[in-house]
């Protein structure tokens, strides 16, 4: 029996979908059987981040309304045998799926997969309620900005009200050089404010833009710092103890490059 984990944030644009794609792929690299569920009905994105947009025939709404069998809607990943995507519908809205239907769906997926990773839409309305309906664990993604942390705090409250009492935090797009200068909130600041456990910290990394352009999750890029951070997060999800990335590791050449505007 697998586990259902929802990736949420409240605010849009902080990296929920990127996080879902990378965690899911990271778990698949480790040999786990994984399905990614896109619940952002009407604003489907996880398919393009995974590079699977051309393979969609059926979607989540077809599955819950009985328009197709669950197996028919699952899209197998290009790279991994045991990684699948259940895409969101693009032409419907969030009310096309109910909380009950989501619970049933995740129950079924749990029987087949080790990890069911649910990508939650931004906001706190029906889409959010659907996404968390069948979840057993929750991940809250935030960036070191006032608005993102504020929304994350609201989400933590709503998750707790829905009995997801131990959400884990991912701090995304942190810029160590700005933290060092005192111009960006650091890890400790955000943990203190949100008062939840830290699952991982992902540095700002241009490799994310490139990997999203290509439709290949950065977790597969051995050179990418963000990819390394996501690999560590995937390991922590399985219960492994992995120390945080040393974001201060800022070598002479990196500094020199930045000085010349190339870093």
């Amino acid at each position: 029996m697998g586990e259902v984990i929802v990736v949420t944030s409240g605010k849009g644009g902080v990296g929920k979908t990127t996080t879902t794609a990378n965690i899911g792929t990271g778990l698949a690299v480790m040999g786990h059987k994984v399905v990614l569920v896109d619940t952002d009905i009407g604003l489907r994105n996880l398919d393009v981040v995974m590079g699977l947009e051309n393979r969609i025939v059926y979607d989540i709404v077809d599955v819950v309304t009985g328009g197709c069998r669950l197996k028919q809607a699952l899209i197998k990943d290009k790279r991994f045998e045991d990684l699948f995507l259940l895409p969101a519908a693009q032409t419907k809205d969030k009310t096309a799926v109910s909380e009950e239907q989501m619970k049933d769906l995740t129950e079924k997926l749990k029987e087949e997969f080790d990890y069911v990773i649910v990508d939650c839409p931004a906001g706190i309305e029906q889409g959010f309620k659907n996404a968390i309906a069948g979840a057993e664990r929750a991940i809250v993604v935030t960036t070191p900005e006032v608005a993102a942390v504020r929304d994350a705090d609201r989400i933590v409250g709503l998750l707790e009200a829905a009995l997801l009492t131990d959400p884990k935090l991912i701090i995304n797009r942190i810029r160590p050089s700005m933290v060092k200068k005192g111009d960006m909130m650091d890890i400790q600041d955000m943990i203190e404010i949100l008062a939840i456990d830290l699952l991982g910290v992902v540095p700002e990394d241009e490799a994310i833009v490139i990997s999203t352009n290509k439709g290949e999750p950065a977790v597969l890029d051995k050179q990418s710092r963000a990819g390394e951070a996501y690999r560590n997060i995937a390991k922590r999800i399985t219960g492994e103890h992995v120390p945080l990335l040393n974001l201060e590791a800022d070598g002479f050449f990196r500094r020199l490059r930045r000085l010349f505007g190339a870093g």
Binding site: R150, V179, K180, K181, G182, M185, D189, F252, L256
Partner: protein, 97 residues
């Protein structure tokens, strides 16, 4: 030029401008407000519970009862205005019997 070399070698750090402290302070204040807000349904449930408990001790004007959260600066207070109609002389004994 000397400064340039120092910076390249990482010997000279930029002075901390500390806008993160502004961010933290603003966030702290905004969260005090956010966390102090309760949904009308929760507030109503609290009101009903209060009526039930207080009615064991005194007769109150249920229609005139007001419950709200007041936040001032950094602290939040639950403010209740409960008009009493009549005090029960032996409250506990009465409910016990």
């Amino acid at each position: 030029m000397f400064e340039f070399i120092q910076r390249a070698l990482g010997l000279k750090r930029d002075e901390p401008s500390g806008s993160k402290n502004t961010a933290k302070e603003r966030l702290r204040l905004v969260l005090v407000q956010d966390r102090a807000s309760m949904s009308p349904a929760t507030l109503e449930a609290l009101k009903e519970d209060l009526i039930r408990v207080i009615s064991e001790y005194m007769e109150i004007d249920q229609a005139g009862l007001e419950v709200c959260l007041n936040s001032e600066d950094e602290s939040v207070a639950l403010v209740c205005n409960i008009p009493i109609l009549r005090l029960k002389r032996s409250a506990k004994e009465e409910t016990a019997s």
